[in-house]
């Protein structure tokens, strides 16, 4: 067979499945700079080498064409791509305006199963300690 001259590059990167709060251990297969597959991490203390159907497919969204790769901000009724500083400033401005005009309980926070425990902890901290509301819920209840 003819060598296509490609430099050999294959490695497995240990990571955590992002699809639910269980946090199973996955190894992402990276071949030639692309994430090509998932294997369960055999000695992971949460999942011990087993995954559910979502975990087995966790690599599939990485290179998806439909994946958002930059923040979008709505202006004039239209979503426009922007940078993170502009997007975060828009969020901060919007949240403080609503909290100021209608009180902190006019704001609600939705945590996500696709974040880590620690990130979700920080989100409720932001809700309670910074904005001053107990309106915290989770996407799993939607």
């Amino acid at each position: 067979m003819v060598d296509n001259g490609k430099e050999l590059s294959y490695r497995l990167v240990p990571s955590t499945c992002v699809y639910c709060g269980t946090g199973c251990g996955v190894l992402l297969e990276v071949m030639d700079g692309r994430v090509t597959g998932t294997l369960p991490q055999k000695d992971h203390p949460v999942s011990w080498g087993a995954l559910c159907v979502k975990g087995w497919a966790v690599h599939e969204f990485v290179h998806s064409e439909r994946r958002l790769t930059a923040p979008l901000v709505r202006s004039g009724g239209e979503l426009k791509e922007t940078d993170w500083d502009t997007a975060l400033a828009a969020v901060a401005e919007g949240l403080s305006r609503v909290a100021k005009e209608h009180g902190p309980d006019a704001v609600g926070f939705f945590a996500s199963a696709r974040c880590t425990n620690e990130e979700n902890y920080l989100l409720q901290k932001l809700a309670r300690a910074v904005v001053g509301t107990n309106n915290v819920d989770h996407c799993a209840r939607l």
Partner: protein, 269 residues
Amino acid sequence: MSDLKDLVREKLKDGVDAFLCLKDEEGTLLPALITDADSPELELVEAGGARYPMGKILIDLLREYPGKRFAVLVRGCDERALVELSKLEQVDLDRLVMVGLACTAEEARACGCTRPYPSEIALGEKAEAAPGRETIEEVEALSEAERLRWWKEQFSRCIKCYGCRNVCPMCFCKDCALENPHLVEPGVIPPEFPSFHVIRALDMTGRCVDCGLCEEACPADIPLRSLYRKMQEIMEEKLGYRAGESPDEKSPLSFLGSEQDIEKLEREQ
């Protein structure tokens, strides 16, 4: 006895392009491809511990890098998988150097293994086979109706994760029957009994190399290995064939027909 590090270095110096084995990465053992005989990674290679589907990884590597040659650390079951995969034209043994690792007696017992060593051993000592037939015997002691009930109960736990198929080195079909909505209804959990599991068991006949990776990956602790092993026992008894052994003898159940042959068969039906 040489150690794995020396063997990896030796093979890379002998001209293979990369060595697939396991490596310790911050306390986690995972498959790694070593390409440089002087790499500091060589200090981290490990022989024992976790088991991964090396055959499956090699199918992809051989395809992605045609013209490259690989060496791989193989246990008995990895070697059987690669031999059978070559008969099924999924790997090219001419581009593969297998470095054999014998499993320990403890590993053989844990796997209930019928052949815990490869044909040539470079590392480890050959341990006795320890064929675990407890589950098979338990089921064989039941009447046919009870057996069906026994398996039904086991498979009622299936969460249809497809892990048994995904991890199996011998499952490589592009169009998997288990994803065909006419055969397996989408969205139904547990999958219909017994079709889902019978499709897989039949596809594994004469192909399963008894590595047990499916059972290890099953979140529902279903004794898959015993089911497939019983199939292999029948295969051996009736047709005298053991998957993964004798590289020159193809499975009596494998045939590769040309498109014309298949069309002819369809016309005759």
